[in-house]
């Protein structure tokens, strides 16, 4: 046992030495905690319950033993859906924003009021990659939304064809009463294996309304992404979140929602479609720290070919979070015997006057429905496509903005 640990630490130490450390904007105590967590916990191994089905240690050793950081690139041919956009990742922070949005990057002199939020929700003490991002990421962008936006803000992660490693940190603050929609997507020019480690902290003030849509699709299947996200919701805030994960070698999302004050509504929906040998792992935590709030989760997962699609949904209801109403459901379709699906709900409830329900179903496509469609002259593949679209329609339909719906539909391959 001791020998393994030592070997593992040797790899980690050598690995970390390749990452430049000029982190400036992280508060000292947060940085210390993050580095301590990295040293103590190490890279999640096969025995790590949270990374079950995601062999992250062997992925790093196999593909990313040598780290090359991309130099910043000009952004080429990015598919920008909205006039309001910010490009991050391997790019100069290109942006075009309307009034109502203030943006700061690590190069700017960032006011202290923003820095106070960095690491506030202690993701760096829960997940190795959140700690890695906190301890070793020099790229920070702060997006402060001060007024209701007329149109969505498009946040684009640009991944270039140089290097194989990058990290990005995002802090978003949505002011009181403000309504905003954010589309987060990824633009790739890379053909090589690429490791992208992101961390986003999103603060929603009282009575704010945020619709956040993250669309992950990498047609070349070369991206390995770990994405840590934390939403913090103050009184009467409304959050709608859509997680769409399509092609790519690895999409791992740790999505955490802190319900800090009463009368909050958090609606989380997800669609994951695993193809080829992709691994998609959605790890959600809805943390009811305060009562009289409502959380709703619906995740639809499809696993085809040799893919692995995992959903882990954790709900915590604190002792004083009375009158909480929490719902979670995951629906799963296995299209191929070589694919793997795994869905696990986890509930921890310490309050006694709450309503919590969860469910999970797994199956294959309905053979009778397939046959019925075929007897009407519809090709097997088209019949399958119709049934799959019917399966996940309610996830996409929920998105009010037609341009975003179209952006997603265009990228779905069945």
């Amino acid at each position: 046992m001791e020998l393994t640990t030592t070997q593992s630490n040797v790899f980690l130490n050598e690995w970390l030495q390749q990452i430049p450390t000029k982190v400036q904007h992280i508060p000292d105590e947060v940085l210390v905690d993050a580095l301590k967590y990295i040293e103590e916990q190490g890279i999640p191994d096969l025995k790590n319950e949270a990374y079950r089905g995601v062999p992250i240690e062997s992925i790093l050793k196999r593909y990313f033993k040598k780290i090359e950081i991309a130099s910043k690139n000009e952004v080429a041919n990015t598919q920008v859906v909205f006039k309001n956009f910010i490009v991050v990742g391997d790019a100069y922070s290109a942006l075009s924003i309307e009034k109502g949005i203030r943006v700061f990057t690590s190069a700017d002199n960032i006011p202290q009021e923003y820095l106070n939020w960095i690491g506030h929700f202690k993701l760096h003490q829960k997940d190795f990659f959140a700690a890695l991002n906190t301890g070793y990421c020099d790229k920070l962008i702060i997006i402060h939304i001060t007024e209701t936006l007329d149109q969505p803000l498009h946040l684009i992660h640009f991944i270039s064809n140089q290097g194989n490693f990058n990290q990005q940190r995002v802090l978003v603050i949505v002011d009181e009463q403000v309504k905003a929609t954010v589309l987060e997507s990824y633009h790739f020019t890379c053909q090589q294996s690429y490791f992208y480690n992101t961390l986003s902290e999103i603060i929603q003030k009282e009575h704010s309304q945020l619709h956040w849509i993250n669309v992950q699709n990498n047609p070349t299947n070369t991206i390995y992404s770990i994405n840590n996200v934390s939403f913090s919701l103050e009184k009467s805030a409304i959050l709608k979140h859509h997680q769409i994960s399509l092609k790519g070698s690895l999409w791992r999302n740790n999505i955490e929602v802190h319900i800090q004050q009463p009368d909050v509504n958090a609606e989380m929906k997800g669609l994951s479609i695993g193809k080829n040998q992709s691994i998609i792992s959605q790890y959600t935590s809805i943390l009811h720290h305060s009562g009289h709030s409502h959380s709703y989760q619906l995740y639809k997962n499809i696993a085809d070919d040799k893919s692995t699609v995992l959903f882990n949904g954790f709900i915590l209801v604190d002792k004083n979070a009375q009158k909480t109403d929490a719902y979670q459901n995951s629906k799963n379709i296995l299209l191929n015997d070589n694919a793997t699906l795994f869905a696990r709900p986890q509930l921890e409830i310490y309050a006694d006057d709450v309503r919590c329900s969860h469910g999970s179903t797994t199956g294959s496509l309905n053979e009778d429905a397939l046959f019925y469609l075929k007897t009407r002259g519809i090709e097997e593949k088209d019949a399958q496509r119709l049934l799959l679209q019917a399966f996940f329609n309610d996830i996409i339909e929920e998105i009010d903005n037609a341009d975003i719906r179209e952006f997603i539909i265009q990228q779905i391959e069945l």
């Binding site: 309905n366 053979e367 009778d368 429905a369 046959f371 019925y372 469609l373 075929k374 007897t375 009407r376 002259g377 519809i378 090709e379 097997e380 088209d382 019949a383 119709l386 049934l387 679209q389 019917a390 399966f391 329609n393 309610d394």
Partner: protein, 253 residues
């Protein structure tokens, strides 16, 4: 004249049990045939074999449809060649829009025949015409396919699809089951409207009731996997009076 459908010495096994034990049947264009028989006689098996459902193994015999070996075709190609099965239990498919599904089906059949996809306004016109014929409310046909439909609505929707896809052979598998008399008349009217001298209808039923409205040229009695007697429409009336037992005895002797 070459028959539209020719079934010769058809033997079919399901899960190792022989259900059809040598069926011979010929249907010409312009004809209406009825197959009657008690529960378990193999009526539904025959309709599923014609439509191409998995799990029905043909161990002997052949089916020639419009000059083609039907047993070599996939279910979708059979439909494109002109076979239509109105299901006894139409499948509910939530999330698949009834009209979009029908347009996909129609265009898929047209493409097979080398025709251009139907244009939107022409399709809409067709839908309106048939919808009226079958007394189907507009909100129903715009819903998810059969989702939450009543038994009668499902059967009407089957005949609605039949009238839009306009196949060469319509197989009605117990379309009368679960229908009240008014719905029965509407369904029969739809079938009669579809029927002409260029196509054919195969009605599979327990009861003679439907045959008052869809009048067959030929009636066949199916019993224990064999057609034991064929005749004209008077056979159905006879059967209604005497029950199946009289014919069972006839075969034993």
């Amino acid at each position: 004249m070459t028959p539209l459908l020719s079934i010769k010495n058809l033997h079919v096994t399901v899960d190792g049990n022989e259900i059809l034990k040598g069926i011979d049947l010929e249907i010409n264009k312009g004809e209406i045939h009825a197959i009657m028989g008690p529960n378990g006689s193999g009526k539904s098996t025959l309709s599923y074999v014609l439509a191409g459902k998995d799990g029905y193994e043909v161990t002997e015999g052949e089916i020639i449809f419009n000059g083609k070996n039907l047993l070599e075709l996939s279910p979708e190609d059979r439909a494109r060649e002109g076979i239509f099965l109105a299901f006894q239990y139409p499948v509910e498919i939530p999330g698949v829009n009834n009209i979009q599904f029908l347009r996909t089906a129609l265009n898929s059949i047209r493409q097979y025949k080398g025709l251009e996809p139907i244009d939107a306004s022409e399709f809409l016109k067709l839908v309106k015409e048939k919808q009226k014929l079958l007394d189907l409310p507009a909100n129903l046909i715009n819903r998810s396919l059969n989702d939450g439909f009543s038994g009668g609505e499902k059967k009407k929707n089957e005949i609605f699809q039949l009238s839009i896809l306009n196949p060469l052979l319509a197989i009605l598998d117990e379309t009368d089951s679960g229908l009240d008399i008014d719905a029965l008349k509407v369904v029969a009217n739809g079938v009669n409207h579809y029927h002409n001298k260029e196509n054919a209808v195969l009605v599979i039923t327990h009861y003679q009731r439907l045959l008052d409205y869809i009048v067959p040229d030929f009636v066949h009695i199916l019993y224990k996997g064999k057609i034991i007697k064929s005749g004209d429409k008077s056979l159905a009336l006879e059967l209604e009076k005497s029950g199946y037992d009289a014919y069972k005895v006839e075969t034993t002797n």
